[in-house]
Symmetry: C2
Subunit: 400 residues, 2 copies
């Protein structure tokens, strides 16, 4: 019947050989066990998904569109919706500059594949979304880490000094709003200075705005793409504002980039799952997005406030944390010397509470964030957040 | 407001700079114009999609599964369904060897990313699915083309002689059933000899079985994966048997490959669109797949017969073509000297009929298939097929 080849090893490229079933994967399994009070993952609140609206949209699409399940070209009307959404973010663009993707992660992955030459360097903040580092994995790439401080923001002097030293990174990857993992947003002057630096040194910027539509205060600043239309490659997503499992996102790029993205995407997965694109389009056509976003912002604001209040009550002396105006995360810094990676096992065991250790967001696995943790506030109701932080407080107190 | 960076060019890796809006893209636009009798694309018949069953499945998923729109882990029950489907193809595997993808194209893309080292060679048939060549585009890769003849099949002497010469390709890419573009299937002895060669020379095989469940005769041969479980990396898909826009496919690989695929997929698009996976699962749970497949095979068999009959009537002297027992395509060879690429413009203009020129399937754009064309029989009803071939016959006759 079936037989065994006499190969001792799998046929893998050398970088792929180094992929190991990660400790993180094990950790994720523990974190998501039932009964765990988890502030760990970046999950939106499932109970707030517009499930009924999506059901109606899916039914409409299947009943009315003969080609809904067939291969089909990109949906122009959905790109037009994105243009109008971007306008609300202060960004002017055309439907020809919008490219639809299977979520923000794919947007980043495709951009990196097009923009990064093997051997080039890239500039990253020293607290950075781990999924972006995963994108870089197959490339032999020098990672230039610049400080992004929870309180003082991106260290633009450091950015300038790296550029002055002659480094020419393929791009800088950053998030101006609802930063993952810090939860911070950049000040207006910082946005302007960063864009100026990028122009002066012709450094492209990949701007990840996955949380940009989740704003909790009256003052909302424009993303970098609003200040610079050729040098900033903008990545957006419906995952955090509608639902992740639909896998619909977009990028806004110069028009000459779009057919290249289409070519790379074609080779990746033929084309975006147009069935779910159609569901998103039908939902947007029904005019329910604004109402849904208002509700979402209101509820997430309440949850953020619950988390900040609980931290005031339960965190040990010496701990500091960010006060986000957008996104889903609060970043906690314990006094230097604390080891949140080691502490997580104890937190799970003794108090069934989970967070993500700072180290998960360090460039190339460095230890500079080993005393930090990322807490999510979007996925749990306020009472559960309060209970989780109380538990976390006990774990930290016991550390002693 | 927005300003312009003084960069004369986009920031692109050198291979990406070479991507051009392809002549093929233009051609595809002409081909899909309303009123064109097109036998060009590999489209399943949309009128045969189980749209009602899918609608019911979508409604069930949204009504009954709270996490349907949330991030979620891979669906074990769907992998178990795949195992049972593979059994019907003569393949024994476990759910732990099944990895779910966003369609077959993603399966191939992820496998290539893991298996191919820059600078390595790969072995391809000289008539090969163009989407697979697209996957290779970003890599500096030597393409070893071996003859796959429409009548004599894959030239295994040539495969052996290349291997004997010392070449050690990263893999051979092939399709044993319903070959795209040839429409042919391999004889049993050829399958056995190929697997033996692969074992002897430790050459991995990527087996693309996207059309393997579309069989029109009583005798169905097992895919290569049934003969070899470690050296054959199998790619399957629901796109041709359910519906492409759902974007659900799978690979069957050694278990130690699965966490590596998960890592690369995570960095590509976080995870498969589990919403559409859930719809597929719910449809399979309803037990309607077999009935649907029976209907599909019956109708596609009728359409294949209509195409073959029309070719007998309308093809010029000297033309030959394949008689497929599976898949969606017939491969036509005109006498040497014919140029089907040049002819297509005339076919569209004078008779509004379309096919794909053989050159689209040549390795590295070679001209060895310039006198050939690929005709699809799944997407049009028999009467339309007959009309399309009549028109094509007139175009070829006028060619003189």
């Amino acid at each position: 019947m079936s037989s065994s080849m006499n190969t001792p090893e799998l046929p893998l490229a050398s970088w792929a050989r180094r992929i190991a079933p990660s400790a993180m994967q094990d950790m994720l399994q523990n974190i998501t066990k039932p009964g765990v009070f988890s502030l760990a993952l970046g999950l939106p609140a499932a109970e707030l998904f517009p499930t009924e609206g999506m059901g109606q949209a899916a039914a409409r699409v299947l009943a009315e569109q003969g080609g809904a399940l067939q291969y089909s070209a990109t949906l122009q009307p959905l790109r037009e919706h994105v243009v109008r959404m971007m306008e609300k973010r202060g960004v002017k663009c055309t439907p020809q500059q919008v490219f639809l993707t299977t979520g923000a992660q794919q947007g980043m992955n495709l951009l990196v594949r097009l923009m990064l030459e093997a051997g080039q360097s890239v500039m990253l903040e020293d607290r950075v979304y781990s999924g972006f580092q995963q994108v870089l994995e197959p490339y032999q790439v020098k990672r230039l880490a610049v400080r992004r401080d929870a309180s003082t923001g991106l260290d633009l002097d450091a950015v300038e000094s790296v550029l002055k030293s002659g480094e020419r990174p393929a791009f800088l990857y950053t998030m101006s709003d609802g930063h993952n993992p810090l939860g911070t947003s950049m000040a207006m002057e910082a946005r302007e200075r960063l864009v100026k630096l990028a122009r002066d040194y012709r450094m492209p910027i990949i701007e990840d705005d996955a949380y940009g539509f989740l704003q909790y205060e009256d003052t909302v600043l424009p993303p970098l793409r609003a200040l610079e239309d050729r040098g900033v490659f903008y990545v957006g997503s419906f995952s955090k504002i509608l639902a992740p499992a639909l896998r619909v996102g977009w990028v806004v790029v110069p028009e000459q980039m779009v057919f290249r993205l289409a070519t790379v995407k074609e080779s990746s997965d033929i084309d975006t799952a147009t069935f779910t694109q159609r569901i998103v389009l039908s939902f947007l056509d029904s005019g329910k997005l604004e109402e849904h976003l208002t509700r979402l912002r209101q509820e997430y604001r309440t949850r953020r406030d619950a988390l900040l209040k609980a931290l005031e009550t339960h965190m040990p002396k010496g701990a500091t944390w960010t006060k986000p105006t957008s996104g889903m995360f609060v970043w906690v810094e314990l006094p230097e010397g604390a080891d949140t990676t080691a502490l997580l096992a104890r937190a799970l065991e003794t108090e069934k509470v989970a967070y993500l250790p700072g180290q998960a967001f360090s460039v190339a696995g460095g230890r500079s964030a080993a005393h930090c943790m990322r807490l999510n506030f979007s996925n749990c109701e306020p009472a559960k957040i309060e209970e989780a932080v109380a538990r976390l407080g006990r774990v930290l107190a016991a550390r002693g």
